[in-house]
Each structure stands twice: as structure tokens, then as C-alpha cells.
Symmetry: C2
Subunit: 124 residues, 2 copies
């Protein structure tokens, strides 16, 4: 069973966290055929935190988990904090394959997204 966890930074503003939960809801609609569990987790400031998110997926039967950092740049959170947390949790579940995707700014599609956003605004 495969799981996908979108990991956002987490905010003191409830509105910002709600945006992330909504986004994951949209993600769930689009790829629930591919991933049995699709969850939100936060690096800090909001719950569930990453270890709790992973634990929940494992308890529900996930044996493959993709961690998707919802970050644009490869700052310290992406290069150190998230991998360190995931590495610690990984030790508790040696039978579970846990992978972390690159930050979003590294995707080829980010350019298309930027152009599409600029074009839509220009035409307004």
C-alpha cells in the first residue's frame, strides 16, 4: 500500500494551514487511484507533525511512503530538517520504504506554472 504525505512548513496563521489541507484534498481527488493514503503533515507550528503523519500511514498499512516537501527553495528545511526527521522515523519502520521528493522549485514544471500564472494575470 502506497502513501503520499505533503509536508508544508506550518504556520501560526490557521488560514495558511487550511490552504494546505485544501490543496491535499484536491491532490486526493486527482491521485487516490495511485496512492491509498494521501496526508498532510507539517515541519513545525501545526499538526500533524511529520513523525505522526508517517506513523499514521504505517498503522493504516502503508509500506511505501512518498514525502513531498511543499517548499520552493532548497533551504535548510529541505536539505537538513526534513531529511533528519524522516531518517529518525525511518529507523522505527525498517520494512517501510520512505522516499523524499526534491523541493518544488527543482521541477521542470515550475517554469510552466510561472508562465501560466503570469499570462492569466496579464489578460485580466
Amino acid at each position: 500500500m502506497k502513501a503520499l504525505i505533503l509536508v508544508a512548513h506550518g504556520s501560526r496563521l490557521a488560514k495558511s494551514n487550511t490552504e494546505v489541507f485544501k490543496l491535499v484534498g484536491e491532490l486526493e481527488k486527482k491521485c487516490s487511484g495511485q496512492y491509498s493514503i494521501i496526508k498532510t503533515a507539517f515541519l513545525e507550528l501545526s499538526e500533524p507533525l511529520i513523525p505522526e503523519g508517517i506513523k499514521d500511514c504505517v498503522e493504516k498499512g502503508a509500506r511505501s511512503i512518498i514525502i513531498l516537501p511543499y517548499f520552493l527553495n532548497s533551504g535548510r528545511h529541505v536539505t537538513d530538517d526534513i531529511p533528519n526527521i524522516v531518517n529518525n522515523v525511518r529507523k522505527q519502520y525498517p520494512d517501510v520504504d520512505i522516499k523524499i521528493t526534491p523541493h518544488l522549485g527543482a521541477s521542470d514544471l515550475i517554469i510552466d506554472l510561472l508562465i501560466s500564472s503570469a499570462d492569466a494575470t496579464q489578460l485580466k
Copy 2:
């Protein structure tokens, strides 16, 4: 003449700012036919700041400027800080049309980007 300014937060880490400049370089390759000027600017911590970026575009002849906030969530930076800075600068250039795009998390394409990123990592 049209200009596009990608506005990132700005970081104390040079590497993070360099990533943004590189991304804007890629953006330039893809849409220089559509925008005569494509620039990077930062909200804080790195230069050029937004007013300087806009000034540079206007001096080079831009009469239409799209500000593209490189932010995933609609936090305070997106809802208040960037619009406030742009509104202040706008007063100096009444003949220039300056528009701000929504944050990237609001784009329909963000879901495709997330799925593509997850899929690529899963196959590794």
C-alpha cells in the same frame, strides 16, 4: 514594452538566492518573446528589492509590469507586504500598468506539479 518580475522572499543563504536567479534565467529562455524584460527581485534580505526592480524595468521602457510572487501560500507577505510595496511604487509611475499574480499555490497547475514530482521519485 512588457516586463515580468519574479519576486522571491530573499534569504541570508546566497545559495538560495542563486537558485532564484537561475530559475529566472530559465524563465527568460522560455518567454523572452513575450516579455522584453524578465527580472528577479526580493521582498527582503537580498537585492534588488522590489522598488529597485520596478524602477529598473520602467527606466528600460516597460509600460506593463507583471509581478509574480514566488510564494506557495497566501501568508502576510503575499496578502499585505508585496501589495503594499507595489502600491507605494505604483504612485511614482502612474503611466505604468503594474499587476500582481496570485501566489503559486493558487494555480491549477500546482497539483500536476506535485503529482509529477511524487511519480518521478517513486520510480527511482
